[in-house]
C-alpha cells in the first residue's frame, strides 16, 4: 500500500460521505459542506490516482487541482450569497420540498 493509494481511498471515502450528506441533508449549509467534502475527495482522487498510475509526482494534475480548489471556493462563496439572501427573504435555511415535480 503506497501513499497514493491510501489517499485515493481517502478521497473515495470523502466522496461517499459527501454524496451521502448532499442527498440526506436539507439544510443548505450542511449540503454546502457536503459538497465541499465531495470536492476535496475528488481532488484527492485526482492526484492520488494519477500519481499512482504515473509512479512519479505529477505536476500537471496538481496544477489542475489548484484550479479546482479555486473554482470550489468560488462556488461556495456564490452559494453563500444566495443562501443568505434566501434566508433573509424567507427566514429559512432550506428549500421548500415540492413533491409535485
Amino acid at each position: 500500500m503506497d501513499t497514493n493509494l491510501i489517499f485515493t481511498l481517502g478521497g473515495i471515502g470523502l466522496c461517499g460521505l459527501g454524496l451521502f450528506g448532499f442527498i440526506y441533508h436539507c439544510h443548505l449549509l450542511r449540503r454546502l459542506i457536503a459538497f465541499n467534502l465531495i470536492g476535496n475527495g475528488t481532488f484527492l482522487i485526482m492526484v492520488g490516482f494519477a500519481q499512482r498510475g504515473q509512479g512519479v509526482t505529477d505536476h500537471v494534475i496538481q496544477a489542475l487541482v489548484l484550479t479546482g480548489i479555486v473554482v470550489a471556493v468560488s462556488a461556495t462563496a456564490l452559494a453563500l450569497v444566495l443562501i443568505r439572501r434566501w434566508f433573509h427573504l424567507k427566514g429559512s435555511t432550506q428549500l421548500p420540498e415540492d413533491d409535485a415535480s
Binding site: 491510501i6 454524496l19 436539507c26 465541499n36 482522487i45 496538481q62 456564490l78
Partner: protein, 318 residues
C-alpha cells in the same frame, strides 16, 4: 513508518469528515470542516504536493471556513439556526445511502483496475519546461502550458463576485457587523498584517521556482484584508467603488490583454513572445495576486452585507 502516518491521516480525515457531516451542531460541523482542511493539507504534503497544501490551508480551510463561519454567525444572530431543521425523511436516507454506497463501490472497482497510462504527461512537461519562462512546473502548467484554463478560472472568480454584486442594488452598503473593538487584537493585527503581506509577496515570488504562486499569494492577501476588515479598517470603504472594481478586474484584464496581444502579434492566443515569457508571467501573477485578494475579500463582504429587504421592483419595466 510512513505507512503508519498515512493510515493515521486517512483515519483522521474520514473521522473528521464524518463528524463534520453528522454533528448535530452546525457550528461544530463548520469547525470540523476547517479542521479537515488543515488535516488534508498534511495529506497533500504526503502526496508530494506542497502547492496544493498551501492552497488547501489558505483557501480550502481558511477562506471557505471564514465564509462559512461568517454566514453561520449571521444565521445565529437571528436565532433561527437549528429551529426549522426538520429531520430528513426515510426515503431520502435510503436514497442517500444507496447512492453513496454505489459511488464508493464503483470508484473502488475503478481504482483497483487501473491500467498503466499510455501517455506520461510529466515527461512532456519536463521537456518543455526550459521554454516556459519559469522553473517551477506547476506555475509553468498554470500560466503557460494550460494558461487558457487559468484564464477561464479567473473568469469564474470574477463571475462569482459579479453575481454577488448583481444581487446587491446598493454597492456602498455598509455591513452590519460592527468592527472588533478589541485593542489587543488591534495590536496583534499591526504585527500580523504586515507579516502576512510579506508572506504573500514571498509566495508570489517563490512561484517561479518553488511551491507558491498567485493563488496562494492572493489567498494570503485576502486573509490580511479580511482581518483588517474585521478589525474595522474597511478596504471597500477606503477605496472608491470604481477603484475597487478596477482592482477586482485588474488580474483578469491584464491576463486578457497579454493573451490578446499575442494574437495581434500573429501568434496563437496566450502564446508569449520568445524570451518574454518569464516577465509576462510575473506581470500576470502580480496583477492576479492583487485581484484575487480583492475578489476573495469582496466575496466575504458581499456575503456579509445584508441584502436590501425591499428591492426596487419593476424587473421588467422599461
Amino acid at each position: 513508518m510512513n505507512l503508519l502516518i498515512d493510515l493515521t491521516l486517512l483515519t483522521g480525515i474520514l473521522a473528521i469528515a464524518a463528524t463534520s457531516l453528522l454533528s448535530r451542531s452546525l457550528f461544530q460541523s463548520v469547525i470540523f470542516f476547517i479542521l479537515l482542511g488543515l488535516t488534508l493539507a498534511l495529506g497533500w504534503i504526503r502526496l508530494g504536493a506542497p502547492d496544493i497544501a498551501l492552497a488547501e490551508a489558505a483557501i480550502g480551510a481558511g477562506i471557505t471556513g471564514v465564509l462559512l463561519l461568517d454566514t453561520l454567525g449571521h444565521l445565529k444572530k437571528t436565532g433561527k439556526l437549528d429551529k426549522d431543521e426538520h429531520r430528513p425523511s426515510y426515503p431520502r436516507l435510503l436514497l442517500a445511502i444507496l447512492s453513496s454506497v454505489t459511488l464508493v463501490v464503483l470508484l473502488l472497482w475503478a481504482v483497483f483496475h487501473q491500467p498503466t497510462p499510455a501517455i506520461q504527461l510529466h515527461l512532456l512537461v519536463e521537456e518543455a519546461l526550459p521554454d516556459s519562462g519559469v522553473s517551477h512546473q506547476i506555475t509553468a502548467v498554470l500560466l503557460n502550458f494550460r494558461s487558457y484554463d487559468t484564464l477561464l478560472e479567473v473568469g469564474v472568480l470574477v463571475l462569482a463576485v459579479l453575481v454577488g454584486l448583481a444581487l446587491q442594488t446598493d454597492q456602498h452598503q455598509q455591513d452590519s457587523l460592527p468592527g472588533l473593538p478589541n485593542p489587543l487584537l488591534h495590536a496583534c493585527l499591526t504585527l500580523l498584517v504586515p507579516a502576512m503581506l510579506i508572506t504573500s509577496m514571498y509566495l508570489l515570488w517563490a512561484g517561479s521556482d518553488r511551491p507558491g504562486g498567485a493563488f496562494q499569494a492572493g489567498a494570503m492577501l485576502a486573509a490580511a484584508f479580511i482581518l483588517l476588515h474585521l478589525s474595522g479598517i474597511k478596504l471597500s470603504a477606503q477605496l472608491s467603488h470604481r477603484m475597487m472594481q478596477f482592482g477586482l478586474l485588474l488580474g483578469f484584464t491584464v491576463f486578457l490583454v497579454v493573451a490578446t496581444s499575442s494574437v495581434i502579434g500573429g501568434r496563437p492566443l496566450l502564446a508569449y513572445p520568445d524570451g518574454g515569457a518569464g516577465l509576462l508571467i510575473l506581470l500576470i501573477e502580480l496583477a492576479l495576486t492583487l485581484s484575487i485578494g480583492l475578489i476573495l475579500l469582496s466575496l466575504f463582504t458581499i456575503a456579509n452585507s445584508p441584502p436590501l429587504s425591499s428591492r426596487s421592483g419593476g424587473s421588467n419595466g422599461h
